[in-house]
């Protein structure tokens, strides 16, 4: 059961690589594994909490004003994350910059609230939030590992290949686009091969 859910979040409905949602933060913060993982965890926290609250209020919220209600709930949790990060992880907060408050407009979170949490029970929504959040974190980690190794020849601050000249372009903007293009192509290739087999 848990295994199936995890597989759904990370592989079949992977928010970034399959559904192409939440692209802005994923390209902007995947310059190093530390940033990518931090962003993924922050978004997972917000996603899980907002899913629980929205699902518990699904009978109270009138249908017509549901989107503003969802946004307020999400924004409240994002503010919490912002304050916690400022207090305990100031270095990470500086690195992520405006992308911490921008978790509010991450389409994955609003998307899950609209498509899942507003229709399902609290426990189901909690699981969905965690699983989709992990899928987001997982793909962010893949992107940032590739970019950090190619772009600065480091992983978590440690030197990786001795004697390899890093291609700085990979931690700049164009590298982000190239990396996600190739990772998406690989995911699609694997998917096609599986269907064919």
């Amino acid at each position: 059961m848990i295994k199936d859910e995890l597989r759904r979040g990370i592989i079949h409905e992977n928010p970034i690589l399959v559904l192409a949602l939440g692209l802005c933060p994923s390209l902007a913060v995947s310059t190093s594994l530390q940033n990518g993982f931090g962003m993924g965890m922050a978004a997972t926290f917000v996603l899980a909490c907002s899913n629980v609250i929205i699902s518990s209020m699904r009978r109270i919220i009138p249908d017509k004003v549901r989107i503003p209600c969802f946004i307020v709930v999400i924004a409240a949790f994002v503010t919490m994350v912002q304050l916690i990060m400022k207090a305990y992880l100031p270095a990470l907060d500086k690195q992520l910059g405006i992308f911490v408050p921008l978790i509010v407009v991450n389409c994955i979170i609003l998307g899950r609230a609209e498509a899942f949490a507003s229709k399902n029970s609290i426990s189901k929504s909690l699981v969905d939030g965690i699983v989709i959040g992990l899928g987001f974190t997982f793909s962010l980690c893949i992107l940032s590992i590739i970019r950090e190794i190619l772009g600065s020849n480091k992983l978590l601050g440690l030197k990786f290949f001795p004697g390899y000249e890093p291609m700085t372009i990979f931690i700049l903007a164009p590298g982000g686009f190239f990396t996600i293009a190739f990772v998406m192509a690989v995911v699609r290739y694997l998917g096609n091969r599986r269907k064919g087999a």
């Binding site: 946004i71 164009p174 293009a181 998406m184």
Partner: protein, 203 residues
């Protein structure tokens, strides 16, 4: 004169050097979603410029006279997103009533803009220190920054739409069709825009 130079600096920086889409990675969803045809790209670009200017002005006023005044800066995220959502709704209603032609052109794009990170992004950037003058943004600078960031967004969107119209006709490998090839195109464009980083003649 000093302030005129700073306004030009802000404009060049917002359009080319730190282009919203290609170097700050803001507003990628509409950038990939609405860039299939030039006509819809122009419509979306116009709508974004429009909302960005209004949102920049309002959020600047609220930030300066409410949030900073009463020392409640931690509420910034919630307040800004609500203000933007309300503004988009108001703009939509006003357009529908007073300018049906413009509403026809921009209408379908307006609801999409609330959750466009470019609009919240520009509002948040306006609360930071202006890198060109080293001071807080003034009201006028905020408006210019909002307009020019929107112009930069539209430029990237329209260029991309032009390229994608041609890409439709070309033979791409099957696994690259659709999004991956668009990302590679965007990457090449970002590479070209990286060249503008050397333009720091106002610094």
């Amino acid at each position: 004169m000093e302030s005129f130079a700073s306004l030009i600096g802000i404009s060049v920086s917002a359009i080319f050097i730190s282009n919203f889409v290609l170097s700050r990675f803001l507003g990628l969803c509409p950038f990939l979603g609405v860039s299939k045809k030039i006509s819809s790209a122009v419509g979306m670009g116009m709508a974004v410029i429009f909302v960005m200017v209004i949102a920049s002005g309002f959020t600047w006023i609220i930030n300066r006279f409410v949030l900073l005044r009463f020392d409640v800066e931690f509420l910034r995220t919630i307040v800004f997103i609500l203000v933007i959502a309300a503004l988009v709704q108001l703009v939509e209603m006003a357009l529908q009533k007073y300018s049906p032609a413009l509403y026809e052109a921009l209408g379908i794009f307006l609801p999409l803009i609330t959750t466009n990170c470019a609009v919240l992004g520009v509002a948040l950037i306006n609360t930071e220190i202006n890198p060109i003058t080293g001071l807080q943004f003034t009201f006028f600078e905020t408006i210019v920054n909002g307009t020019m960031s929107g112009v930069g967004f539209m430029l990237a969107l329209v260029l991309m739409a032009g390229l994608r119209e041609k890409l439709e006709l070309s033979n791409t490998p099957e696994i690259l069709e659709g999004l991956p090839i668009s990302f590679i195109t965007a990457g090449l464009m970002a590479l070209a825009f990286l060249g503008f980083a050397g333009l720091n003649f106002f610094a």
